[in-house]
Symmetry: C2
């Protein structure tokens, strides 16, 4: 088990090529490439699988930064012609097609919009207002920070930016002001450790609730659509709202009981928030404009089906408003490196995973597993699939890589075994955020929160497993009931 500051998709990328991991990646890819394709699998599909799995292994081993691996993957897919044998022009066209995918731009454009929350200071102001209102106790403080994260989540799909960029700095300064010092271990449990874990869990729950809550959700939406399962922004939200709100209410209280902060009353916190708000002054014109754009975004996302405006179009409208009102400049957009990075790896992984489906590999795999588990009822298969997906996340330092590698395959397996498609598509989608609890490198903001130093690895893993199991129980139990009522299955 690692004890040092951990790697993660969101940490500033190491640009160095890691020779040994790269070698392993290449050997691994070549090995699969040269194994003859099993019966029923086209050779192209098998070769694409080799490139795809090598890319995933490269990401997991951090052989190079994700972007570099994706550039190589595109070059290889196009060169080898696996998508269009013998047609070089079509090969590269198909290798690049996901860059034109609306799902990718929903995330990309939302990243730009999110910059507005940080640039205008509106994100911080919202957090301070919650603290001012409900921050009198450490439990209230936990709910306040969680509520702020939740409120920002629909328009900030980089949960790393939301957690690490907005909530974390406020949480840490609050904890330190309350006497919990990262460099004094005896003070960690005063309030810092509790707030750290709680803020992280709240971030993951908020990520699960909104289609635009974290970058990998729309990837799930896309993979599901490839199998004919339609999920809109609103239908995702509607399915998530009941188990999501239950989690938001239960988790801070549960953690308060099993991992209690020594400090219960935090009467200074609201005063500090008031001071910070005073320092910020009146709400600026740009904050109002940001709020307006945010409200328009939410309204259009929620009512999108009604007004016949696609979620991605809505994002473009929101960004146009911010640019026209000069809340954001085009310079801000160009400099938003995280967005360009995300667009590149997102498009590359979606292209490969989607093509594996189109070339028949994913359905073939689904039927293969179904054949092995012959006769198992779907009510048994469903929880097994979810738990396998959840626990396998111990092996992944990136939610994205995990979703790209396993979501479509597990969905195909479940559908082949009779699990109601929409139910499985949604629950796998939610799990893609919830499994972030388990390790200190499991999801984008994990290394940021872990880096606070308040929580050691052992505590992180034990609490992570407990909370993870509780979350699964809430979402599959209460969620299952809710989805039955609302006709998801």
């Amino acid at each position: 088990m690692k004890t040092t500051s951990a790697p993660a998709a969101a940490a500033p990328p190491k640009n160095e090529i890691q020779l040994i991991p790269l070698l392993i990646t290449v050997v691994f890819g070549l090995a699969i490439w040269f194994i003859p394709a099993p019966e029923g699998v086209k050779p192209e599909a098998w070769h694409l699988l080799a490139i795809f799995l090598a890319t995933i292994i490269g990401i997991i081993l951090k052989a190079a930064s994700m972007g570099t691996l994706c550039m190589m993957a595109i070059a290889l897919v196009a060169m080898t012609g696996v998508l269009a044998p013998g047609n070089p022009g079509k090969s590269i066209t198909l290798a690049l097609r996901s860059f034109g995918d609306k799902v990718i731009w929903l995330i990309g454009i939302s990243f730009f919009i999110a910059r507005g929350f940080i640039k205008t200071g509106l994100g911080s102001r919202i957090a301070y207002i919650f603290i001012k209102l409900f921050g009198k106790s450490s439990l209230g403080l936990a709910y306040s920070l969680g509520a702020a994260d939740l409120m920002l989540a629909p328009a900030i799909p980089s949960n790393t930016a939301r957690g690490g960029g907005i909530i974390y700095p406020i949480m840490k300064s609050m904890a330190m002001s309350l006497g919990s010092m990262p460099d004094k271990p005896e003070t960690h449990r005063k309030v810092g450790a509790y707030l750290t874990l709680n803020s992280y869990y709240m971030n993951l729950i908020a990520s699960a609730i909104f289609l635009t809550g974290t970058a990998s959700n729309p990837m799930c939406q896309k993979f599901a659509a490839d199998m004919g399962i339609h999920i809109s922004w609103m239908s995702w939200f509607w399915a998530a709202i009941v188990p999501g709100m239950a989690s938001v209410i239960i988790i801070p209280y549960l953690l308060y009981k099993i991992f209690p902060p020594e400090l219960k009353k935090t009467t200074e916190a609201p005063a500090m928030a008031v001071a910070k708000l005073k320092e910020m002054g009146k709400i600026t014109k740009n904050e109002w404009l940001m709020l307006l754009a945010f409200v328009i975004l939410l309204v259009l996302w929620v009512t999108g089906d009604l007004f016949k405006i696609d979620a991605t179009t809505t994002a473009f409208i929101g960004l146009s408003i911010l640019l026209l009102t000069q809340v954001l400049t085009w310079e801000d957009v160009k400099a938003e490196k995280g967005a360009w990075d995300t667009i590149v790896w997102f498009a590359t992984l979606v292209m490969m995973a989607g093509s594996l489906n189109e070339l028949g590999f994913i359905p073939w795999f689904g039927h293969l597993i179904q054949g092995i588990l012959l006769g198992m009822s779907w009510t048994l298969a469903f929880p097994i699939i979810i738990v396998v997906y959840f626990l396998s996340h111990y092996l992944f330092a990136s939610a994205t890589a995990h979703v790209a590698a396993m979501y479509a395959a597990l969905l195909a397996v479940g559908i082949a075994m009779g699990v109601p498609p929409l139910l499985l598509a949604l629950m796998l989608g939610f799990t893609g955020s919830l499994f972030g609890t388990i390790t200190h490198y499991a999801h984008g903001p994990a290394p940021v929160y872990f880096g606070s130093g308040y929580v050691d690895v052992k505590q992180w893993w034990i609490m992570g497993l407990i909370i993870g199991v509780v979350l699964l129980a809430i979402w599959m139990g209460l969620g299952g009931l809710w989805w039955k009522i609302t006709g998801v299955y």
Copy 2:
């Protein structure tokens, strides 16, 4: 005529929204929108034309930065459903499809590769080597700087980066060392003015010679392909080589005669270059790697049809090599704002112009003009079309906007009038670089060179027109002969 420092696509974008120009843009767009579509034009096509022309007008008037205008254009195209009436999901999908276009990524990835020339210093070293060899006279210096630009052009499709980022700083420091000072007008004609204009013209000629010489060339390739005219990297180069090399040889000498530098001998220049080269030290490992990647790129681009590797795939291979050898890091790629900017406006303009063609507007327009000019022979129509295209560039502060606005339409007109399609497609393509001579805001690097202060507006415009006419004569005369021999028409 403007006398202050001029606007251009390449200048650091002003991010402020310009209210009056924006108002004009909006009114202009609305006016077209509400004019009933002429007979034979679908209403969707007409409405798309309104959005497209408003975007172009906005770019010309600098109502906002190009990126902002493009975001708005995408939002409008998707919202109004002009590409897929009544289908919001398909509308945004079609509005984004050009982001998956291989032509756009050929340019985008080449921008990243070009960063390697600047980062490693190889670009500057090449220029100094030419000066060391041939820089003993001001004429030799002019040829040296031109040769360096020409050599870098195939892999640096941002002619602004090539001219402004590599050649210009060297040219200016040479001119100053030779006693031509921007702030002393009496010294301008010593050598600075001559080198400024000549370097700029060489940049444009190099841009015309290679498909990857400037960003708008592949846009021409794309529009031509939409009309069934196939142009590869090699066929573009092959058509351009004879008039291109003639221009490279003739122009510096001609300018030397009609706009002579007072200083003829520049014996200090080679010595300065030697000193600079000494300062740079031995060729570094990264420079060798850059050179290797460059050679691989060139070989694959030239022989692409033979090895069945697409030009865009080649660019991805080149970038992968630079990333794997750590000449470039992924951080460099993400931070290459110019590339992301170009990808965005490029994809947006190509989407709209391409859709106007698909929706039948461009062919309709071609037939309309053909009807007006009924009976004109193609041998007359051809030069008229080229000259109209050339001279209309006085109105454009961006080559891109001009190519996007007029290339496809003029091609359609010419084809309708019987001009051999490939001949016209190529010559319009070359003209898209050559028309840059005429003003101090006509092409990406123009404001950089003009900003040196060595040449005043009057000189710039007079010399620009003369050289522009000579270039047209070379390309249409000698070029026409060459294309006859090689079977272009």
